[in-house]
Every structure is written in C-alpha cells, then in structure tokens.
C-alpha cells in the first residue's frame, strides 16, 4: 500500500532538474514536474466497487530558441534527458524556419512567492485518511438506510519548476477529497468538498447531513417555470463562479478583446458590491499552490472586486500581449492549446448562516447543486444547466416542499448583480479539466433567477 510520500523522491530533485536544464542546447529552458500519488475509495450499490491507488508523474520541458518555444514531456526522471533534447531540437526547428524572432521567454528568478506554500499545503492529518478510514466512512454512508454513492480520497501532490534563469521551486501538498450522493426513495442529496486537510472536510457530519437531506427530499414535485429568489448552496454557488474566467477574465480572451475586461472594462460595476471573486493561491481553502508551471509566483487576482470588473489571470504569453506581468496562471490541458487558467477561485464569504439566508426569503427556491452547466452566451454571461439533488421551495423563510430538478438558462452576471446575502461557510469543488484546480464558495442569495424547462 502507499506510504503517502512524494511521487518523486524530493531529495536533490531540484538539483537533478537543474542539471537536466543546463544540458539543453537551447537559449532557455524550463522543466516542470506535475505529480500526484493518490488513493481513492469509490463506492456505490453497497460495495466499494473501485478502490484505486494511482501514481502519475509528468515532466514537461519547454525549450526556447530565438524566442520560439517547444515542449516535450515524459513520465519518469530517467526519460528527462531525452525529453530535454527533444524539446530543444523542436525549438531549433521552429526557430530555423521562422522569418523573425519569437517572443517566448522563461520566468525571471527573484520574484517572491505571494504566499508560503510549503507551510500551508501540508497537513499531517491527511495521512490518517487512509484506506481503512475511507472504507469505514464508505460503509457508514452505505449503512444509513439510504442509497449511497461517492468517493473519498487522499493524495500527495508534487510540483517543481526550474528554469535556466535560476528559478527553482518545489512543493509537496496534501490533498483530501470527499463526495457523496445519498438517495432515499426519489429524494437525493449531494455533498462534495476538497481541502489540503482531511480534517477540514468533516466527513462524518457530511454523511449524516446528506442522508438527512435526502430523506427530506422524498416526495418532491415539479418546479413551475418562472423567476425566483434563490438561495444557492455552496456547491451551486461555486459552480457559477467557475464560469467567470469565460467572461473575459482569462488572459487569452482579454488579449483578444473579448469579454468584460474589454467591454465595459476594469472598474465597471457588474455585480453586487458584496461580491468579490478572486483566484487566490494564498487562501487556505481549495487546492492552493503558490506558483505555476512556468515557475511564476501566483498573485491574488480579483476577477470581481467588490462587484466591479477586476483583472485577468495570465501566463507569460498572455501577459506579454496585454503589456503586464504574468499573474502565475500558466496551464497546459489535455486536448487544448496552452492557456492561463484560474486554479483556485474563491467567492469571498459573508457572515450569515445558510439558515439566515433562507430566513430572508418569503417565497423562493433553495438549490443545493447544479448539474451539467454550460456556457450559452459569452457576452451576456448566460449559462444553461439543471438543478439537481436537495432542492426545496422556500416558504416564509423556511425550507418547504422538495422540488425536482429543473432546467434553467440564466445570466451568471445578472444573478451576481442581485446578490444581497453571502454565507460564511465555504465548500470547494474541482474545476473541470484543470490540474489541481478548485473553486470555493459560500452559499449566496440572489433574485429573479429564471427556471424554465425545455418541453
């Protein structure tokens, strides 16, 4: 079984990477290690159907010749020399056929990290979240007179970056995750959370609460089409803020003049003043790591700052196009061109409990979770999706009858402009297709949210 250690031995790792970088026949070179040793206990139908123990490592090399970059990657340290050579050869080929110098560069050394990631991302208690503990929790969830499906996991995440300009960064981060869908008759409820600390998840309480909510969801009826005051639980709220980068807060969109940073522009109010959404690697919540795969220390970037249009997350390339400095958000995803991504989004909390938010609603809908949300219109910020699990009418300040999932098509920006209450308790969830990405949010209350099912 895993001993819960680094995917790649940390001793002398940076020196090894630096030696490999120094051997590159290129003007500049950068080497990044993305690694994760994860254990996962996945359960459904009264059994642990997928216990998994997965170690993955990827060494990515970016070589630059006359400003032209090329990347190569391999899975193990013993392949690194070949990868460095391959990247350099590719970069030389690109440079040789180019009519003019390119613009690519590596990050400068000497930039201080915005946080102290090594001290805030390792939690000893996550080691105790081992296979036995996870299996017991799964059994507990499946014993509670409910259908239960979910996954509990722990991991050691490792990231290292060196470059020929002297950047040398390394971090080991613990990671704990839990998710559960409970079903009682047709009532369902869902819980998900991520944190560097397993203790922060509060799994036992989450199991009890989720089963209780599923029980309360029995007998749910249809939700009539219409515009509603809504209280979104932390997961539903987190899903909405995950769309903000699509509205122009990703560097490549801003550089192309697409989205809110181009029109109406920074400083323009587009959301309620209590709404601040930042990509924040200095926050303990979510999955913070203090630098990106180009080795740039992450800056806290407020996408929405007290309701006003803030700034975009950038990497070295898009920062150059915008005439700014990189905010430390370089990312390379499967099947996609490299681009900057917001990796630790956070909607700043308020000071109310979820019950207090609900108490302020005479008639409305509580939405625990959205499902399959997709961008419909980048200009208006409109998305579509359905509500799912643990949704209730709100009647006279209390949860009332449970309601079935319903389709909505609504502008995220319109909803954020109506927010008049924020919860204090945060919950995190993964960001789709982003390595080590998380979005964290409290519950929120907003108005005039349109539900309308396609029939």
């Amino acid at each position: 079984m895993s001993s819960f250690t680094a995917p790649v031995a940390s001793d002398a790792l940076l020196e090894t990477l630096q030696k490999a970088a120094a051997a590159a026949d290129a003007d500049a070179v950068e080497i990044a290690l993305l690694g994760r040793a994860g254990e996962y206990t996945r359960f459904a139908g009264g059994r642990i159907h997928q216990p998994q123990n997965i170690t993955e490592t990827q060494f990515t090399v970016r070589a630059i010749v006359n400003g032209h970059p090329a990347r190569s990657a391999c899975g193990t340290l013993d392949g690194l020399a070949s990868a460095v050579s391959r990247a350099a050869v590719l970069a030389r080929e690109l440079a040789a056929r180019a009519a003019s110098p390119g613009h690519a560069a590596v990050a400068s050394a000497g930039l201080a990290a915005a946080s102290s990631p090594d001290s805030s991302v390792w939690y000893e208690e996550t080691e105790a979240f081992d296979a036995g503990a996870r299996a017991s929790l799964a059994a507990s969830a499946m014993r509670q007179n409910a259908g239960a499906a979910g996954m509990f996991g722990r991991a050691v995440t490792q990231m290292a970056v060196v470059n020929s300009a002297g950047v040398a960064r390394h971090t080991l981060a613990t990671e704990a995750s839990g998710s559960l869908t409970a079903t009682v008759d047709e009532g369902t409820s869902h819980w998900i959370d991520l944190h560097r600390s397993a203790s922060a998840l509060g799994v036992e309480q989450a199991i009890e609460r989720t089963v209780r909510e599923a029980t309360a969801g029995r007998g749910r009826g249809p939700l009539a089409d219409g515009h509603y005051t809504v209280v979104l639980g932390p997961q539903a709220a987190g899903e909405l803020i995950g769309f903000l980068p699509d509205f122009g807060f990703a560097g490549e969109l801003a550089a192309a003049g697409v989205g809110l940073l181009a029109t109406p522009g920074p400083g323009t109010p587009v959301a309620a003043p209590m709404v601040t959404v930042a990509d924040d690697a200095t926050a303990a919540a979510g999955l913070p790591i203090g630098f990106d795969l180009e080795g740039t220390p992450k800056s806290r970037v407020a996408l929405l700052d007290a309701g006003r249009v803030g700034a975009a997350v950038t990497d070295l390339t898009t920062a150059r196009a915008l005439g700014t400095a990189s905010t430390g958000h370089a990312h390379v995803a499967r099947e996609e061109p490299p681009r900057p991504v917001a990796a630790n989004l956070r909607l700043e909390p308020g000071d109310q409990t979820e019950a207090e938010l609900i108490a302020g609603v005479e008639r409305g809908v509580y939405v625990q979770r959205f499902w399959y949300t997709r961008l419909v219109d980048r200009v208006t910020g409109t998305i579509t999706g359905v509500s799912r699990d643990g949704c209730f009418l709100i009647e006279n300040g209390r949860l009332g009858a449970p309601v079935a999932g319903a389709r909505f098509t609504h502008s995220v920006l319109d909803l954020l402009s109506t927010v008049d209450g924020l919860g204090r308790d945060l919950r995190s969830q993964p960001v789709m297709n982003v390595w080590n990405g998380a979005a964290t949010a409290p519950a929120l209350r907003g108005h005039n949210f349109r539900f309308g099912a396609a029939r």
Partner: protein, 490 residues
C-alpha cells in the same frame, strides 16, 4: 526496455515479460487479475493569431494492475521506469483488495474464454514522420485563411497525432497487443463586433476532429478551404438574425447529431450508469435493466449501433480494456432498446449481454463503460432530399453549447449555425440557435435519416469516472429530420 524512446513496447515479447512479472506477483493469490501496459506518445502543434507556435510532444509509459480477491477489487497504477514497477503495482493492487476483505457485496465474474491476438490501425502515412516544416506550412495557411476577415479576433489552428502500444494480459490466459495511431486537425475562429462575439469551428467543435488514421486523414479535410469558410461565417454571424422561438421542423446536421447521440443515447445506455455506479459523478440513466428489449426509445427511423471495429474512427479497437473482443451490437433497433454498453462487472451483476465497452484513459485508470462508437444508422437519400421532405424549417449544425440532466432526459443544445429553410431550400444564416427536449420524445420525432453518402463520424474525448478520466471514442450519423422540435429555448 528503454522507457524514454518511443517504441520500447513495440515488441510483444518484451512487453510479455513485464506483464507476466506483474501477474506472477498475484498468481495463486487472486481470483482474477489483469494487467494493462501502455506506451503512448502524443504530438500537438498549435498556432494562434499573434502568438508563437506551440509544439508539444508527450510520452508516457506505465502499468495498471487490477485484481479480484475474495470478491473485492484492488487496482494500482504507476509509471514504468523499470520492470520492477510492474511488481510494485501488482503488490499494491493486491494489498488494496485484501484490505477490503469482508467489506461490501462480493463480485463474481462469470468465466470467459481467453482471447489473444493483435490489432493495428491502418495507416497510410505515419503522422510522426511528417517534418515540422510541413506541419507549420499547413497551419500558417489555415491561420491566414481563417483570419482574413477584419472582424476575426482570434484563431486557433492545430494538428495532433497520437500513437500507443497497449498490451493486455490476464490470469485467464488472454494476451493482446494493440497499436493505435490517431491523427487530427482543428481550426477555431472567434469573431468580435457589433456588440457580439461568435464562434465557428471545423471539422468538429470539440477540439477539432481526430480519426484512427495516418496523415492521409488531413488530406481529406480540405482544411484551408474550410478554414476560410468558417472565418467568413463567424463574421457573418455577428449580424445574423435569430430564429423566432416556438416549435419547428428541423434537419440536424451530422456533427450536432453525433453529440446528441453521445449525450442522450450513448451515455444513457452505459450499463454501469444504469446500475447506479456513476450516481455520484457522471450520473445515472432513465433506462432501467428491465427496459432492455421492450422500451420504445425512438421512432422506427432510429436504429443505433455500437461498433468499435469500424475502421478509421477515433478509438477503434479489437479488444476493449479488459480484454473482451470487440463486435457490433444493435443498441436501439427501429426505436426499441435492445442492448446496453457493458463491461464484465456490470454484465455479471445484471445478467445483461457483455458488449465489450470497458475503456480507460491509459494505464492510470480503471476501465469503465464508455459510449464507444455509437452510430445512428443511415436511412436513404441525400441531404437535399431531406430538406425537400421537410419543406419549411431550419437546417442546423456544429455544436455551440450542450447540457443534459442526470438521467439523460432533459436536454438543451445550441448550434454554431442555423439556416432558414423554405420550400426545401436553404436561405438566411441565423445565429444563437437553440433547441430542447426530452430524450424519448425527441428521438420519437425523428421522421427520416439521410443515406450513407451523407454519413460523417466524429471523434470525441469524454469524461467519466472518479478520479475523472478521458475516454476517446466516436459517434457518427447522417443528417436527420425532426418534426415539431421546441426551438429558441435559450
């Protein structure tokens, strides 16, 4: 074995030593075990307006071991730096299964005859042998063609290729080696102006299209010509009108139908979902095991098959990722549900037919049911025949947004383009077209499907499982005529 130069697993005999060393660790100590040993290399070349070209070559090699001990599964996977890693993975997988003794319902796999053999993608020209200069000349041409109109704000063009050696062995005696090659291309245009932003893509709106083929696939795409077309269309869309909401007859083009198939047919028929295994993440299905053989899913015009052996489409294979030989199945036969997409575990638990749909994203992930190669079977006639049959309505294609509920019932899709159709002839270009519906009602409203000459297939990446993994698969269709569809729902 040299793990850092491509082709170290091209030789089946060297791979077999590693497979056997892993199986040897658990021999006699497990009811069943299988091992997947995979070497993969991927090349991606991207260019974008105003940016530096980005060239990417990625290699990985690793091993995944799955064991069943006293009815409990264990799985472990790791990169392969040396053959010793195979034994480490096997020991970890075994220990994981043993630790779960007595926890939960035991699994029992029915016996299966061993299957051994090899398979290789048919390749005309090896995409990895194409010189860098040739790739970038093409990409520069596509970029220039797509960005010719002044209101084009962004363009991405790309070429990709992937090759894999996938080796499989199990304690039942199966030994398999499959060599896959894929090649693809994309162009994605964003236009900005008149207070709007519009997108057009070719040849598929999901990261372009990728086929199980060599470089010759790119020649079939007429990329430069099509890049110019979508560049112009993206700009035209900025000032195009929007269709009035309501109900209408619609002919849906093959790219959009392929996504409709993926979301509302393929996923709905994955047996692990039907049994609830994915209830927490990828979702469930409105189809129940008792529906198989009787549920009316669509009209008589709707016959949907799964056939991973179809050559040339992304992810085609001869053996699935738990060693089951691939073959064709009717999933929906003239509107009636006949089969599901199953793996060994789900088929054993439910008594359904094993259809060999177990797929995994490389060595690092457990095989799960994926909507492998689900195709709408063509009917008769041309697209023009179909438009004539419709008379007045719309022709739509190329997905812009997509969403469907947990049970795969309530969907809403948007398309990049729509055309008004009057008297069977295409007219004005329209933007922001959307439609919605409920799966069985929608497929029940399919009146006709165009013939084989209009059939197109598309390769897709698809996310499933926890931790999430990608499956690579294909869907294909000819255009189809749907009556009385609800449109303008966004």
């Amino acid at each position: 074995m040299s793990a850092h130069d491509w082709g170290s697993l091209a030789d089946s005999s060297s791979a077999r030593e590693i497979l056997d060393s892993a199986l040897g660790v658990v021999a006699g100590a497990a009811d069943f075990a299988d091992v997947r040993l995979i070497e993969a290399e991927e090349m991606r070349s991207y260019v974008s307006l105003g940016g530096d070209p980005d060239e990417r070559i990625e290699q990985n090699i690793g091993i995944g071991v799955r064991v069943l001990v006293d009815g409990q599964w264990g799985f472990a996977a790791r990169p392969l730096a040396s053959t010793a890693d195979a034994a480490v993975a096997a020991r970890d997988a075994h220990a994981s299964a043993v630790a779960l003794a007595g926890r939960g319902k035991p699994v029992s796999l029915p016996p299966r005859e061993p299957s051994s053999g090899s398979y290789a993608t048919s390749v005309g020209e090896d995409p990895f042998s194409v010189p860098t200069a040739r790739r970038y000349e093409l990409l520069a041409d596509w970029l220039a063609a797509a960005s010719a109109p002044a209101e084009v704000a962004a363009v991405q063009a790309g070429i990709n290729a992937k090759r894999q050696h996938r080796h499989y062995a199990d304690t039942e005696g199966s030994r398999q080696h499959q060599h896959f090659v894929e090649t693809g291309a994309m162009v994605l245009v964003t236009a900005r102006g008149h207070g709007d932003v519009q997108r057009r893509s070719y040849p598929n709106s999901f990261h372009g299209n990728t086929a199980a083929a060599g470089w010759e696939y790119l020649s079939s795409l007429s990329m430069a010509e099509q890049a110019a077309r979508v560049g112009e269309e993206a700009v035209m869309l900025l000032t195009a009108p929007v269709a009035a909401p309501g109900r209408a007859d619609v002919v849906i083009g093959p790219q959009q139908v392929s996504l409709q198939i993926h979301e509302s047919s393929g996923h709905a028929l994955e047996l692990d979902r039907i049994l609830g295994d994915e209830a927490n993440y990828a979702g469930t299905s409105f189809i129940r095991p008792s529906d198989i053989g009787s549920l009316r899913y669509g009209s008589d015009a709707v016959t949907i098959t799964s056939d991973p052996t179809v050559p040339g489409t992304r992810g085609s294979f001869a053996f699935d990722d738990e060693g089951t030989p691939a073959r064709a199945f009717n999933l929906i036969d003239r509107g009636i549900v006949r089969n599901t997409l199953s793996n060994r575990d789900s088929a054993a638990r439910s008594g359904q037919t094993l259809t060999g749909a177990a797929r995994s994203d490389g060595w690092g992930y457990l095989p799960v049911c994926f909507a492998t190669h689900v195709f709408l079977q063509p009917g008769q006639g041309s697209l023009d025949d179909l438009l004539q049959r419709m008379g007045d309505g719309y022709y739509i294609d190329d997905n812009r947004s997509w969403s469907i509920d947990n049970q795969r019932l309530n969907f809403q899709f948007g398309t990049e383009v729509a055309y008004e159709v009057k008297g069977g002839r295409r007219g004005r270009l329209l933007k922001n077209f959307s439609y919605g519906g409920i799966t069985p009602q929608f497929w029940g409203s399919v009146e006709a499907v165009a013939g084989p000459s209009e059939f197109r297939s598309y390769g897709y990446p698809c996310g499933k499982g926890e931790p999430k993994q990608w499956g690579f698969l294909s869907h294909g269709a000819s255009p189809m005529l749907v009556r009385d569809l609800r449109i303008g729902v966004a």
